[in-house]
Each structure stands twice: as structure tokens, then as C-alpha cells.
Symmetry: C2
Subunit: 339 residues, 2 copies
């Protein structure tokens, strides 16, 4: 079980500390992405520039740089592949924001809010095309293949999630499949390609990919819980939007399963009528010890992630990757314990 | 000037005659695309199967097979690259149909009408991803690079067209740039890759690409004129939809330029109020000899296409490619002379 941070334990790494060693890498990525604007046709450069302004945590590039870590060397190959995965990620965010009718992301207008959904669909396509064009600047087809297959899986996960909107019979198994596809897949390919392009052996590249797959699942569980327990100001969006849009994520699926059979129908009715806000749901989750079960799922994934790296503990990327999972753990703990 | 077909001239090739030599190629492509369904995640196979049902003329695969023609040999490489360009084309059609709110294509529900626009955006992304995954089955990055760059240009053309909706000051130069990007680009890459993968020299592959670029421009001029002069039953859509959605294509741009300055403003007002149907516009086009100028632009493009092939007249692909341009010419003539 998760407990509040004990003072005798080492302080979990802050995000800034984790990023510090890769500041030069992230700066190189920033310049590289800025330069990409000029690669697009003149007709759409303003739109592309706006689309690239979205600066999240850039977790996927971090996974590239940590997966391929070699004494802090900023290798042009890693910067390029980090740009590839970040462009794919940005393209999927732009398409997601259209589908969710989202108007704000990181406190800026979404591309669809600013330029309309038509331009947003198409610029997402253009960013994805450019990602694959960059992928074909590598000497072999490895990067093209890995990125295009991953993107197909990300889309399949998103589509499956769309099909299952409003379906409370969605099983936990199906939930885990969806988040494996829509989130963990691109996490996985990022560190796998990072390790491989940095010249590490295939078995470590595979392990780095598996580590990030588990980390991605854990991260999505965190993100789904944050939709109920998060701090609205901090995450910059309204809580409970997943359920409002019919997405049954882990906390609600567990809650639903734990409700007495007689109350399940009433619960669904109240969900459909929009009568349950985030605060109501959190109360119910406490009553039925939902957060403990969600925490347990989260911890299992992180434990699997850590275990995968065990045999490679001596390699330089491993402490970096572990820092990242410790950071995700600390974020989760703050959320789950604070509630 | 275009005149009605003179009986002493050779009959222009019918589409069926042109396709006859590549029937085995097209069948191989059909099987290949059917088999692709199983490559997608189980979650989305029904949706993918439906998305692949759209059977247009498959002009881009024809350009692959003719550009790489070698005595009728059905080469697996050409079938694969034909599938790549067709998947990219289908993905763009699916996204276009969302943006245009289209509900029917080839007399079937569009993907967005059947499955909703969310699924349609995402399955378009998935088809495009799969196209690039297939492109990475070639031994070198050539196909990935060519297809991803072309797709980026197609998107740029579509975006530019979107930005210019309702803009009657759109110049002819800008119109030609848009259709070069959105249509001619994928035509061009199809025959260029066909020729290159079939082992023809780089200078012929370049020429095949240029031929198809001009053919693509000519084809789009034909398609834009058909939106006013076509047979509704035959083309299966309402005439005049381009103007209704604010797309100023060549016939209207020429008409607008030829209107006396005093009438231009009134014309735009009537367009915006939706007072001009296709029949009105065709009358105006006749009054101002618009069709002759559109025909002249069309003929110039086809002449450029033919000229590019001149130095390679002895190569097997050339008569096949010429048949295709003769077919597009005959289609255009039927339209322009019939009106």
C-alpha cells in the first residue's frame, strides 16, 4: 500500500532534477523542432508553427534520451528520433482535441479551436507525414517500420476507446488493452529506438521497450486517476471530463464492479443524466476502497517495469530510466495519498 | 480547341481496354488489400474492412503498374507500392469526407456517416500508418521517404484549399499550386516509384513522375469542370457542390475574372446567398466562353505530359502511360463538348 512519504526515505526525484542531465538534449530537440517549420510547405508554416508550440513534459523524448543514454552525449540520431516520436504524439493530441471538442491545452487554444477542425485534421496528418519523412532519414527502414506500426496501434487503441464510450461492461482486461495500445505503445518504441540507435545490444533495447511499456500503462493509470483526484488549477482542465464523455477508466470500472448489483443500474442512470460530478465520484470511490485497488494496479505495473531492468543494472541508461519511474511513482503517491 | 470526335480519327481508348492488360495486377492488388485487414489490430478490423471497400478507378495503382510496366509481369514490389499509394489515397478521402460532411461516396455511406467522425479521423490515421508500415517492407528507405513527403504535400494542398474557401481573389497561380499539391503529387510519386522499383533508369523514373504530375493537374481540371458539367447520375453527387462549399475552382475563377468589374460584386453576393445553382453557372460560363479557356489549360497540361515522355518513346511503359492520358482526354472531351 502507498503511504505518505516517510522522512527517513530518500526524497523522490523532482522532475527538474530528472531532466537536468538531458537539458542539452532537450534544447537540441527544441531547436530541431523549430527548424522543422521551414521543412513544411510555405502555405502552412504558420499553422505548423502554432501546432508545435504545445510543450508538454516531452516524456517520449525523455524516454529516447534515457533509453539511449551514453555519458550525456547529445547524438544527432537520438535528437532526430526524439523529434519523430514527439511529432507523432503532437499529431495524435491535435486529433484527440478535435474529437473531444477540447478548446484549451496547456492554457492555450487548441489547434482546432484556433484554426478550425478541418485544418486541425489536416495539420495532424501533415505532422505525422513529416515524422515519417524524418524517420526515413535514417540509413535503414527500422525507424520507419517501428514508428508506423506503433502509430497504427495507437490509432487502434483510440478507436477501441471510442467504440466503448458509455459501455460500463467494459472489462478491466479491455481497459488495459486500450491503454497499452493508446499510451504504452509509443512510450515503448521511444526507449527501444533510443537504446537501439545508441548502439546497445538488441536484448537491452527490448528490455528498455518493455520497461517503458509498463511505465506507460502506469502513467495512464495515474492520468486516469488524476481526472478525478487532480488539482484543477494544476492540470489545467475540468475534473471528471472522462466520465462526462463516456470514458469508463480504471477508477470508475473498479467502482462499478464493487457496487452492489442493485445499485449499478441506478449509478449508470445517474452517470448518463450527468448527475455525478467528480466530488460525488470521489466520495463513492472512498466508500468502496477503489483508490487502494487502483494503487495496487499502478504499483504492479511499476514493479514489472523495474524488474525488466534488473539484468541490465550495470548499463548507463538504467539509473536514468529508474529515475523516471520513481518520478511517476511520486506523482501518483501525491495524488492518491493527498486524497 | 476541342471538337466533337471526328469519325475518321481513331476511337479513344475506353477505360476497360486500358485496364485490360493490368487485370492480373489489379486482382493481385485487390487480394493484397483484402489481406491487409488481418494486419490491423482485431479491435478495428470491421471498420478497416469497411474503409477498404471504397473502390474507385484506382488511378494511382494504374500509374504504378504502367510506370513500371515490363511485359505484363505482376511484380510483388509493384503490387505492394500500389497498395501503399492506394491506402494513402483512401485515408485522405476518408478525412476529406469528414471535412466536407459528405455522406455518400460511390453510392455507399462514407466512413464518417457509418461510424462517426471520431472513428473516421482515427481510421484514416491507421490506414496511413499501415501504408507507411508497408513502405518500410522495402529494403531501402526510398519508398518511405517518397510517400511521406508526398503525403505532407497533399495535406499542405488540402489545408491551403481550406484556408482559401470563399476567397474569390484566389489567383489562377494559387489554384494551380493547390491542385499540384493535393492531386498531382500522389499521381507523380505513383508512376515514379513504379518505374524505379521496376528497375528503369533514374531519368525515366523522373520523367514518369513528371508525366503523371501534369496528368494529375489535367485530371483535377477535368474533375473541377465535372462538378458543373457532369451527369449527376453518373458521377453520383450533386453538381455545384464545390462552389456551395466555398471552393473556387478553375471554371469559376475564370468566369469571375471575365465578368465586368461592376458585376463581380453582385456575382459574389449571389454566390454567398446560394442563389446560383449549377445550371445558372453553366449559362454564365457559356456567355463568357469560360469552357474554352478551361479546355485550353487542360490541353496544355496534357501536351506537357506527352512531351515529357518523348525521349523515352521506345520504353515499354510509354504506350501504357499515353493510353491513360488519351483516356483522360476523351473523358474531358465528352464533358466539354457535350455541354
Amino acid at each position: 500500500m502507498l503511504t505518505a512519504q516517510n522522512k527517513s526515505q530518500p526524497r523522490p526525484p523532482a522532475f527538474d532534477d530528472i531532466v537536468k542531465p538531458v537539458v542539452p538534449h532537450m534544447q537540441a530537440l527544441g531547436s530541431f523542432l523549430d527548424d522543422q517549420v521551414e521543412q513544411f510547405e510555405t502555405d502552412i508554416r504558420d499553422l505548423v508553427r502554432y501546432s508545435l508550440q504545445n510543450q508538454g513534459k516531452r516524456l517520449r523524448p525523455l524516454l529516447v534520451f534515457f533509453g539511449g543514454w551514453r555519458d550525456g552525449v547529445v547524438s544527432p540520431e537520438l535528437v532526430r528520433v526524439a523529434a519523430v516520436v514527439e511529432l507523432v504524439h503532437l499529431a495524435t493530441l491535435i486529433h484527440d482535441d478535435i474529437l473531444d471538442d477540447a478548446t484549451l491545452r496547456h492554457n492555450s487554444d487548441t489547434v482546432s479551436a484556433r484554426y478550425g477542425s478541418t485544418a486541425a485534421v489536416l495539420v495532424g496528418d501533415a505532422l505525422f507525414s513529416q515524422a515519417l519523412a524524418l524517420a526515413s532519414d535514417f540509413p535503414t527502414v527500422e525507424v520507419c517500420r517501428a514508428v508506423s506500426l506503433s502509430t497504427r496501434r495507437v490509432c487502434a487503441g483510440e478507436i477501441r476507446q471510442t467504440f466503448e464510450r458509455g459501455n460500463a461492461d467494459f472489462s478491466l482486461e479491455e481497459y488495459f488493452r486500450v491503454i497499452d495500445l493508446k499510451t504504452a505503445e509509443l512510450f515503448s518504441v521511444s526507449s527501444r529506438l533510443g537504446a537501439s540507435l545508441a548502439g546497445y545490444e538488441a536484448d537491452f533495447a527490448e528490455a528498455a521497450g518493455k520497461f517503458s511499456r509498463h511505465l506507460g500503462v502506469a502513467y495512464q493509470i495515474f492520468d486516469d486517476l488524476a481526472d478525478y483526484l487532480g488539482d484543477e488549477d494544476k492540470i489545467g482542465k475540468t475534473l471528471g471530463t472522462d466520465l462526462a464523455s463516456g470514458k469508463f477508466t480504471l477508477p470508475v470500472l473498479v467502482l462499478f464492479q464493487r457496487l452492489p448489483r442493485g445499485e449499478q443500474k441506478l449509478f449508470l442512470q445517474r452517470v448518463r443524466r450527468g448527475e455525478l460530478n467528480a466530488a460525488h465520484l470521489v466520495e463513492l470511490m472512498k466508500d468502496y476502497a477503489v483508490i487502494a485497488e487502483v494503487s495496487s494496479s499502478f504499483e504492479q505495473e511499476l514493479a514489472k517495469a523495474e524488474a525488466v531492468l534488473e539484468p541490465f543494472a550495470g548499463l548507463p541508461p538504467v539509473p536514468r530510466l529508474r529515475n523516471l519511474s520513481q518520478f511517476v511513482l511520486s506523482q501518483f503517491q501525491r495524488l492518491a495519498v493527498g486524497s
